[in-house]
C-alpha cells in the first residue's frame, strides 16, 4: 500500500512538473515579446522595461526557468500589472468562492446522481426509471451554461416576477458573514453544476448496481432473509460504487471546468470569473497563476481519489 | 544422415515471468528434437506440458531463453525479424482454433493471399488466381473467395488455414493441434487432406496433439512430452507397441480402442496424483511422484534422453528403469 502511494505521488509530482514546464514554455519562451505580453495591453514602455528587468527576460532560458521555479516554491505567483496586485492575493481572495461552489456542487451531484441511480436500479423499467432515463438524456445533451441560464430564467426571474424571492440570481455572500445567505446565493449555482453530471452518475450507478444485483453473493444475501434495504446499502453499494469513484477521479477536472462556467453565468467572484476576465484583458500573470494552482488541485484530488479507490478495492493495493 | 535434417532444435529452454520481477515458469526445459525432410514427427503430451510453447519457439514466435534452433542447416535462434523473412517462407504454422486463427473482418481470399502479399510474390489477378488454385487444392469452392470466415464451418476454416500455410510451398509445417477443435468425422477429412498435401508437395510436418490415436495415424516418428521435457521418442510403430517410458505406457493404456472386445481385455494403468505445476517441478525425474516404478534414484537424478537398448538408437527414453514390456505396469 505504501509503495503504491509513493509511486502515485511521484507520478503526480512528475505531472505537475511537466505542466509547469509547459506553462513556462507557453508563456515565456514561445511569444516573441514575453515582457510586453506579461506587462499587459495597457502597459507603458516603462512598465515593460520594468517587467523585462524583474523577470530577467534577457537571461538564458534555463536561468529564467530556475528563477521561475524558485519563485513558485516560495509562493510567489507573479504580479498582475492590470490589477496592480500580486497574483497570489488575488487568487486567495477568490478561492473560498470557488471552493464553496465546487465542493457543494460535487456533494450535490454525487447525492443526486447516486440516489437517482439507486432508485432506478431498484425499480427497473418503472415510471421512475423512465423518468430517470429522460433525465439522463437531457443531462447528457445540455451544456452546463445552458442549464444555468435556464435555471436563472425559471427559478430566479420568473419566480421573482411572481413575487417569490427565494433564489438570488447571482452574487456571493461569504459563509462567515451569513451562512443562510451564503447557501441561498449558492443554491442555483450548485444545482447548475450538479444537474449535468448527476445525469451521468445516475446512469453509471444504475448500470453498476444492476450488474452487482445479478451476482451470486447478492442472491445468497437475499435468500438468507436479509432485508432489501440492508442488501442494497451494505452489500451492493460498496462494490457498485467503485466505478463511480473512479469516474469521480476523472471528473475532478470537469468539476473545475463546471465551476468556471457557473461562476460566469451567476456572476460569482471566484477564480473562474477571474480567469475568464484575465483572458479578455490579457492579464497573463493571473492566467499563469490560476493554471498552476488549478493543476496542483487537480493532481492532488486525483491522488486522493486513487487512495480512496485503494481503500475500497484491496486488489489495487497489491500492485 | 545430417544432410536431410530439416529442423533441429537443441536444448531449447523457454521461461516465462509470471510478474515483472516474480518467479519464472519454465515451460520448455531443454528440449531437443529433429525433423527430416518429408517426414511427419508427432509430438504428444497432456495439456500444459509445453507443446504449444515449444511450437512457437521453433517458429520463432517466441524468443528462446536459451538453446538453438536450426532450419535447413542455418541457425535461426537469434535472427532478427528481417533476417527471418526468407525462413518464414519455408516454415509455416497451422493453428488450433478455427475460430480465432482467421481475422473475422477480412475476406477469405485476402486471408489466404496474405503470404503472397507479405513476401511480394504475386499481385492483383495473379494473386487471386493462385489463391483460388489453393482453395481448390484444399477442397474449398474457389467462388467463395469473397466470403467472410463466419460463413464457413469449422472444418472449412481449418482448410483455409491450411491453404494459407501452403501458399508459398513451405518445406515444414508445424501443426499445433490442428484437428482438436473439430468434430471427429471432420478430423478425418482434414487429416487426409494434410496427408495428400504431404505427398503432393513433399512437406514435412511437426504434428502436435494430445490425441494419441490421431498422432499414431499420421506420424513417422513420435515424441512424448511431459512437463516441459521430452521423455521418449521412437518410430511410431515401435512407440505404440513397445513403449519404454512408464508415462507413455500409461497414456497409451488410456487411449480409447475401437474394438470392444479388445477394450474389455485391457487393463488401464492409473496414474496417481495430478500433473504438477510447471512453476515448481519435482526434483530429479519429473515424473517420479506419479510413477508406479519410481525408486530412490528417481527422486534425485534426472534421467537423460538416450537410447536404452544397445544397437537401437532410434528409440530414446528418459527413464532410469525403462519398461521391457507394457505388462510390467498392469495391476495384478
Amino acid at each position: 500500500m505504501v509503495r503504491f502511494l509513493i509511486r502515485r505521488t511521484l507520478f503526480g509530482v512528475l505531472v505537475l512538473w511537466l505542466i509547469n514546464v509547459a506553462v513556462f514554455v507557453l508563456f515565456f519562451v514561445a511569444p516573441h515579446d514575453p515582457a510586453r505580453a506579461i506587462a499587459g495591453r495597457q502597459a507603458t514602455a516603462q512598465t515593460v522595461a520594468l517587467v523585462q528587468h524583474r523577470l530577467g527576460l534577457d537571461q538564458p532560458i534555463l536561468t529564467q526557468y530556475w528563477h521561475f521555479v524558485t519563485r513558485l516554491l516560495h509562493g510567489d505567483l507573479g504580479y498582475s500589472y492590470y490589477n496592480s496586485a500580486p497574483v497570489r492575493s488575488l487568487i486567495l481572495a477568490r478561492l473560498p468562492v470557488t471552493l464553496s461552489l465546487a465542493l457543494g456542487g460535487a456533494v450535490l451531484w454525487l447525492l443526486l446522481g447516486v440516489s437517482i441511480g439507486i432508485t432506478a436500479a431498484r425499480h427497473p423499467r418503472s415510471l421512475l426509471d423512465r423518468a430517470a432515463t429522460v433525465f439522463v438524456l437531457g443531462g447528457l445533451s445540455m451544456p452546463t451554461f445552458l442549464v444555468g441560464l435556464l435555471l436563472l430564467y425559471t427559478l430566479f426571474f420568473r419566480l421573482q416576477i411572481a413575487g417569490v424571492d427565494a433564489f438570488p440570481g447571482g452574487g456571493y455572500v461569504p459563509f462567515t458573514q451569513s451562512p443562510t445567505q451564503w447557501a441561498q446565493h449558492l443554491i442555483l449555482p450548485w444545482l447548475t453544476l450538479a444537474l449535468v453530471s448527476a445525469a451521468t452518475y445516475s446512469r453509471l450507478t444504475r448500470t453498476s448496481m444492476l450488474e452487482v444485483f445479478s451476482e451470486d453473493y447478492v442472491r445468497t444475501a437475499r435468500s438468507k432473509g436479509i432485508s432489501e434495504r440492508r442488501v442494497v446499502y451494505r452489500h451492493v453499494l460498496r462494490s457498485a460504487l467503485t466505478p463511480v469513484v473512479t469516474q469521480l477521479g476523472i471528473d475532478v477536472g470537469a468539476l473545475l471546468g463546471g465551476a468556471i462556467i457557473t461562476e460566469n453565468v451567476f456572476g460569482l467572484p471566484g477564480l473562474g470569473q477571474l480567469a475568464v476576465q484575465s483572458v479578455t484583458t490579457q492579464d497573463l500573470p493571473v492566467v499563469i497563476g490560476i493554471v498552476l494552482v488549478a493543476a496542483f488541485f487537480v493532481v492532488a484530488a486525483n491522488l486522493v481519489v486513487d487512495l480512496m479507490y485503494a481503500v475500497l478495492d484491496p486488489r489495487v493495493r497489491r500492485r | 544422415m545430417t544432410t536431410d535434417v530439416l529442423l533441429r532444435a537443441d536444448d531449447v529452454v523457454k521461461d516465462f515471468a509470471v510478474r515483472r520481477h516474480g518467479p519464472r515458469v519454465r515451460a520448455v526445459d531443454g528440449v531437443s528434437i529433429t525433423v527430416h525432410h518429408g517426414e511427419t514427427v508427432g509430438l504428444v503430451g497432456e495439456t500444459g506440458c509445453g507443446k504449444s510453447t515449444l511450437a512457437r519457439c521453433l517458429t520463432r514466435l517466441y524468443e528462446l531463453t536459451s538453446g538453438t534452433v536450426a532450419f535447413a542447416g542455418r541457425d535461426i535462434s537469434r535472427l532478427s525479424r528481417h533476417q527471418l523473412a526468407p525462413v518464414r517462407r519455408d516454415m509455416q504454422m497451422i493453428f488450433q482454433d478455427p475460430y480465432g486463427s482467421l481475422n473475422p473482418r477480412r475476406r477469405v481470399g485476402s486471408i489466404i493471399g496474405d503470404p503472397f502479399a507479405i513476401h511480394g510474390v504475386a499481385d492483383g489477378h495473379d494473386r487471386q488466381r493462385r489463391v483460388q488454385d489453393l482453395m481448390k487444392l484444399v477442397g474449398l469452392n474457389p467462388e467463395h473467395y469473397n466470403r467472410y470466415p463466419a460463413e464457413f464451418s469449422g472444418g472449412q476454416r481449418q482448410r483455409i488455414g491450411v491453404a494459407r500455410a501452403i501458399a508459398l510451398q513451405p518445406k515444414l509445417i508445424v501443426c499445433d493441434e490442428p484437428v482438436s477443435a473439430l468434430d471427429v468425422s471432420i478430423q478425418a477429412q482434414v487429416i487426409n487432406l494434410l496427408a495428400d498435401l504431404q505427398d503432393d508437395l513433399g512437406l514435412a510436418y511437426l504434428f502436435i496433439s494430445h490425441d494419441l490415436s490421431v498422432v499414431r495415424h499420421v506420424s513417422d516418428r513420435v515424441a512424448v512430452m511431459y512437463l516441459g521435457q521430452i521423455v521418449e521418442t521412437a518410430p511410431a510403430r515401435q512407440l505404440y507397441q513397445q513403449p519404454r517410458h512408464p508415462y507413455t505406457a500409461a497414456l497409451l493404456s488410456a487411449a480409447p480402442v475401437a474394438d470392444p472386445d479388445r477394450a474389455d481385455q485391457r487393463q488401464p494403468i492409473l496414474l496417481t496424483g495430478d500433473v504438477p505445476s510447471p512453476a515448481d517441478p519435482p526434483a530429479g525425474c519429473r515424473f517420479h511422484p506419479r510413477c508406479p516404478k519410481a525408486q530412490q534414484r528417481c527422486t534425485v537424478e534426472a534421467p537423460a534422453l538416450v537410447a536404452r537398448e544397445p544397437g537401437d538408437d532410434t528409440h530414446l527414453t528418459a527413464c532410469h528403469f525403462p519398461l521391457d514390456s507394457v505388462d510390467e505396469l498392469v495391476p495384478r
Partner: protein, 317 residues
C-alpha cells in the same frame, strides 16, 4: 504417413447456407441493415441531415428572407426605446439587442457548430487511433508513457487549458478546433488502446506474424479493421461533446468572436437581456439542445446496430 486410400478432393459440402451469393455480407453491411430498422436513430439522422442542409444553405436562406446575420436593423428591429423586438412577421425569431435577426444568426450559428464539431472530432479520432494503436500494439515502455499521457489529458480540466492557450494565441476558430481535438483524443485513445491490447493476443495476429508480416502491416490489416466499429460509435458520440465544448468556449468569449454568430456567444449576450427578451435564450438554446440530442441518439443507435449486446443508453423497450 499411413493413410486410407486417396480420395479425390472434392469441395466440402459443409453447411453452406448462402447458396448462390458470391459476395459476403460484411459486418458493416449487417449493421447498416439493423440501423435502418431503428426509428429513433433514423429520426435523429434525418434531423442532422436537415441541420446540415440549413447550414449549407444559410446564405441562400438569408437572401430569401432579406436579412443577413451581422446587419443591425435599427429601424425595423428595435423598439423606439432601443429594446429588441420579439418574434413577429418580419423577424420570426425576434431580434437581439443590436437589432440583428435572430433567425438568421441561429442559422449561421449552425455552420460554426457543425464545422467545429465535426472537424475537431475527426482530428481527435485520427490522433486517438494512431496513439491508441501504437500504445496497445507495442506495449512496454511506449505503452506506459502514452497511456499515462492520455490519462493525464483526460483528467485535466479542458477549460483551463483553453484559457491558457487562448490568452496567448487569442480566440479564434482554429484555436477552438485545436483545443477541442486535443482534449477529445484521449477518450478515443484509451478505448482504442484497450481494444488493441485484446486484439493483439488473438490467434490471427500470431498467424500473421508467423507468416512474416511486419508490425505496420499487422496494425493496418489486422488490428484496424477490428477497430472500425468502436471508432464509428465514438465518433458519433464525440461530435455532440465537441459542439458543446465550442458553445461553451464561445459563451465565455474564448471561442469564435463577434460579430460572427455562434450559439454560444448569442447565449452569452442573452445573459444581460433575458429579462426583457426571452427569445434570446430560447432559440439558440433550443438549436443547441436539438443538435446535441440528435447526435447523442444517433450515436446510441449506431452503437446498438454495431454491437446489439451493449445496453442501450436511451432504450425505450
Amino acid at each position: 504417413m499411413s493413410t486410407v486410400p486417396l480420395q479425390a478432393v472434392s469441395p466440402v459440402a459443409g453447411d453452406d447456407p448462402v447458396a448462390a451469393d458470391i459476395q459476403g455480407r460484411s459486418p458493416l453491411r449487417l449493421a447498416l441493415a439493423r440501423l435502418r430498422r431503428d426509428r429513433v436513430a433514423l429520426a435523429s439522422a434525418a434531423t442532422i441531415l436537415l441541420l446540415v442542409i440549413v447550414a449549407v444553405a444559410a446564405p441562400l436562406i438569408a437572401h430569401l428572407v432579406g436579412h443577413d446575420p451581422t446587419t443591425q436593423y435599427r429601424d425595423t428591429g428595435l423598439t423606439p426605446a432601443g429594446l429588441p423586438i420579439g418574434p413577429n412577421r418580419h423577424f420570426w425569431f425576434g431580434t437581439d439587442n443590436l437589432g440583428r435577426d435572430v433567425l438568421i444568426r441561429v442559422i449561421y450559428g449552425t455552420r460554426v457548430s457543425l464545422l467545429v464539431g465535426v472537424v475537431s472530432t475527426l482530428l481527435a479520432v485520427a490522433l486517438g487511433v494512431i496513439i491508441g494503436v501504437t500504445a496497445g500494439y507495442f506495449q512496454g515502455a511506449t505503452d506506459t508513457i502514452l497511456a499515462r499521457f492520455m490519462d493525464v489529458v483526460l483528467s485535466f480540466p479542458f477549460l483551463l487549458f483553453a484559457i491558457a492557450l487562448v490568452s496567448v494565441a487569442g480566440p479564434s476558430i482554429t484555436v477552438s478546433v485545436f483545443v477541442i481535438a486535443f482534449f477529445s483524443f484521449a477518450a478515443v485513445g484509451r478505448i482504442v488502446r484497450g481494444q488493441t491490447l485484446s486484439i493483439r493476443e488473438r490467434e490471427y495476429v500470431e498467424a500473421a506474424r508467423s507468416l512474416g508480416a511486419s508490425d505496420l502491416r499487422i496494425m493496418a490489416v489486422d488490428v484496424l479493421p477490428n477497430l472500425i466499429a468502436p471508432v464509428i460509435v465514438y465518433t458519433t458520440l464525440l461530435i455532440p461533446t465537441a459542439i458543446v465544448f465550442e458553445a461553451t468556449l464561445s459563451f465565455l468569449g474564448m471561442g469564435v468572436v463577434p460579430p460572427t454568430p455562434t450559439w454560444g456567444n448569442m447565449l452569452s449576450d442573452s445573459l444581460q437581456y433575458y429579462q426583457v427578451a426571452w427569445w434570446f435564450i430560447l432559440f439558440p438554446g433550443l438549436a443547441l439542445l436539438i443538435t446535441t440530442l440528435a447526435f447523442n441518439l444517433l450515436g446510441d443507435g449506431v452503437r446498438d446496430a454495431l454491437d446489439p449486446a451493449t445496453e442501450r443508453l436511451f432504450a425505450e423497450k
